[in-house]
């Protein structure tokens, strides 16, 4: 009996091995590390991957998903140890470091070889001339205005310039009722307030914090912005607790009618509605310096995508990148994420079905995406340094010029 079973088992094992080996030879499995899957409706990213697999026989995609911070650490370690996934979800703030580690592939040759139409993408993030990231989905940061507070304060015209914003913020401020015109989160725990709530004023007016690839914080645009923020603070229009306030607390204060205006991600629209369905708010572009009539820079955060330099399947990985950047697929993905598309021809469905998103889409189309922290070395550290100097300025320890000079010195050391 034993002698009969053994050859049969061996045959079965050999057949299974052969089957596995042939399918392994036929299929290329791409590993895709990102933080998007947990932030999208359950199963939706997997469904897009299934559709990609159906359209590209022989390529399988394994999703490696985790929260944003975990993904960031995982990618940093993967880049150092040479174990980076074939395709990686990227934040613009990470790409400089990853490029310094030679961890990201240059997508220029892939674009040229496949005849990829570069004009269809909203942006290509380049470091040292290498195309290392495409923003797949962008979350823009307009100004949210509480219309009820504005009406009560007699603000009939929503602000379009900094001077108008200051006036509106003053009118909306009633400290005795715990009500303020603006909210500025500068917690050092998450210093992104520097990017979203401070530098956005510079970019909105078509200005820059950089000059010839180097920091230019002592230039007029940044000093003027700091002076403007200081004037808002001196007028008592900013909700107290600036130095430890986080983005979540900023949104919470807006939801609870405690601040009239805030700069925030469009991604929070649904959250705001859930938390306070009665809140009457509108979206406007970030106000500009008086007299500016050019295109407005729109601050944004993005879900970027790149290919690992060490990937053995770059050709297949590029197919997936192209697929996600294509008009229809990109529109589907950003519709699920409530984000704006990385493909300029893609039109997410929510912009026609939702008034607020429609308005934001108009702002998006008439302006341009601006985030100068994308591609900078140790972007978070730069924000922390600027944050500390801004806090000193708001605490009355230094002038805007001194804050800008101190931040410039710190930044230059990192370049």
């Amino acid at each position: 009996m034993m002698f009969r079973i053994k050859p049969a088992m061996l045959k079965m094992a050999a057949a299974a091995w052969l089957l596995g080996a042939t399918s392994a030879m036929a299929d290329t499995t791409l590993e895709f590390t990102q933080w998007w899957e947990p932030e999208l409706p359950a199963g939706s990213l997997r469904k897009i991957m299934d559709e990609f697999e159906a359209a590209n026989p022989g390529i399988k995609v394994t999703l490696v998903s985790g929260p944003y911070a975990t993904t960031r650490d995982q990618i940093s370690v993967g880049a150092a140890t040479g174990t980076l996934s074939d395709i990686v979800g990227l934040d613009g703030a990470w790409v400089n470091n990853l490029n310094a580690q030679n961890a990201l592939a240059d997508m220029n040759p892939m674009m040229d070889a496949s005849g990829f139409d570069k004009s269809q993408v909203a942006d290509i993030v380049k470091v040292d001339g290498k195309a290392v990231m495409f923003p797949v989905a962008s979350f823009v940061y307009p100004v949210f205005v509480n219309l009820d507070l504005a009406a009560q304060a007699g603000v009939t015209k929503l602000p379009s310039t900094r001077a108008e914003f200051l006036e509106a913020a003053k009118k909306m401020t009633h400290a005795d009722k715990n009500q303020y015109g603006w909210v500025l989160p500068l917690s050092l725990q998450t210093p992104s307030g520097v990017q979203n709530d401070m530098m956005s004023w510079v970019w909105a007016s078509g200005q820059s914090m950089m000059a010839d690839g180097k920091p230019a914080l002592e230039g007029k645009p940044v000093v003027d912005m700091l002076t403007f923020v200081k004037s808002l603070n001196d007028a008592g229009t900013i909700s107290p607790g600036i130095a430890t306030k986080t983005e979540q607390e900023k949104v919470e204060e807006f939801v609870n009618n405690r601040v009239g205006m805030m700069i925030d991600s469009l991604a929070h629209v649904n959250l705001i509605r859930e938390r306070n369905p009665k809140l009457n708010f509108d979206l406007i572009p970030v106000p500009v310096v008086d007299g500016y009539t050019g295109k407005r820079g729109l601050p944004y955060a993005s879900w970027g995508i790149g290919i690992s330099a060490g990937s053995k399947h770059q050709e297949e990985a590029w197919k997936l990148v192209q697929y996600l950047m294509s008009e229809k697929v990109n529109a589907k993905l950003v519709s699920l994420a409530n984000a704006f598309p990385g493909n300029v021809n893609a039109k997410p469905d929510f912009v026609t079905s939702d008034k607020a998103f429609g308005k934001a889409f108009e702002i998006f189309k008439t302006g341009y995406l601006a985030n100068e922290f994308t591609g900078l070395p140790v972007a978070e550290d730069l924000m922390t340094q600027f944050d500390v100097q801004a806090q000193k300025m708001l605490a009355g320890e230094q002038s805007p010029e001194q804050a800008a000079a101190a931040a410039q010195k710190g930044w230059m050391a990192k370049f």
Binding site: S76, T81, Q189, P240, G241, A395
Partner: protein
């Protein structure tokens, strides 16, 4: 043959203890020694972790952190935060333990107080941080109460003002940590023989004299042991400070743990972060040796 057998038996007896110890030695080696040695190694490398071929840096990263004024500010804040925490943990723990051990308090009330006093110990650091952020925010309950009773004239930004932030996080940590002392001292109090107090009563000793000459000397071994352990643990506190202030405003609540974290995960300077971690390790090691020596002496 007999000699061979005897020597074999002797060898077995000599090796046996090490074989019994080997599982725990392997675990300690893998989970404690290996990471520790790796981090020490990183502190002597350039671009540790981030490069596959890091070069030797010598003491460069140690020099860099010792030349950084923020490091010295962090060290001072750590010492202030730790010393104040330990002193107040001990004082509050002692007062509450004496209260719970007193026969003058109604037993039912004592049981209620026992539950209430131990509550802070049941919360995780994150919950404690969130509770105190809500209580101490400018529009929070604390400001409201203090303004109502006329202690303060205007809202105080407890965590957001450089003048008050370090005191505020220290206060939150004191609130969170006293139950350890309270429970340990209560156990110690219940172990002091009643005869001592009866003899003192016969001699006409007053309450404070009994406290100074009987209670405290009897509790001294517990006080010293727990104080040393609390000192070591409090020095390494991270989540409470990180969630309440993030080390700010400016650098007013930057402690060694937040300083090291920022070097590692904000600046991606893992070599300097390792050097800073080694400094923390050395300080903790010094305290641990002190603790071990004290335990041995006992």
């Amino acid at each position: 043959m007999t000699r061979q057998k005897r020597s074999h038996h002797r060898l077995k007896r000599a090796v046996a203890p090490y074989l019994y110890l080997s599982p725990s030695l392997v675990i300690i080696g893998l989970l404690m020694l290996l990471p520790m040695v790796t981090v020490i190694g990183y502190s002597f490398q350039n671009s540790a972790v981030l490069r596959r071929d890091p070069s030797f840096a010598g003491l460069k990263h140690y020099q860099a952190i010792f030349n950084d004024p923020v490091f010295w500010a962090s060290l001072w804040h750590t010492l202030y935060f730790t010393c104040m925490s330990v002193i107040f943990h001990m004082t509050i723990g002692m007062v509450f333990a004496l209260m719970l051990n007193s026969d003058r308090i109604n037993p039912t009330l004592r049981n209620v107080l026992r539950v209430l006093y131990i509550l802070p110990w049941l919360f995780t650091a994150v919950i404690i941080a969130v509770i105190w952020r809500l209580l101490l925010e400018p529009n929070g309950v604390v400001n409201s109460v203090l303004m109502q009773i006329g202690v303060i004239g205007s809202k105080v930004e407890w965590f957001s003002s450089p003048e008050t932030a370090l005191h505020a996080v220290t206060f939150a940590n004191i609130w969170a940590g006293y139950p350890l002392f309270m429970v340990s001292l209560l156990a110690g109090l219940q172990g002091i023989p009643k005869d001592f107090y009866e003899a003192a009563d016969i001699d006409g000793a007053k309450a404070y004299q009994k406290l100074i000459f009987i209670t405290i000397p009897q509790l001294m071994p517990i006080i010293i042991s727990i104080s040393l352990l609390d000192f070591i643990w409090t020095m390494q506190v991270f989540p409470l400070i990180w969630i309440t202030t993030g080390g700010g405003p400016i650098y007013s609540t930057e402690v060694l743990s937040t300083y090291t974290y920022k070097l590692a995960f904000s600046s991606y300077n893992l070599s300097q972060a390792s050097a800073s971690a080694v400094v923390i390790l050395l300080i903790s090691l010094g305290l641990t040796l002190f603790y071990i020596r004290y335990q041995k002496a006992r």
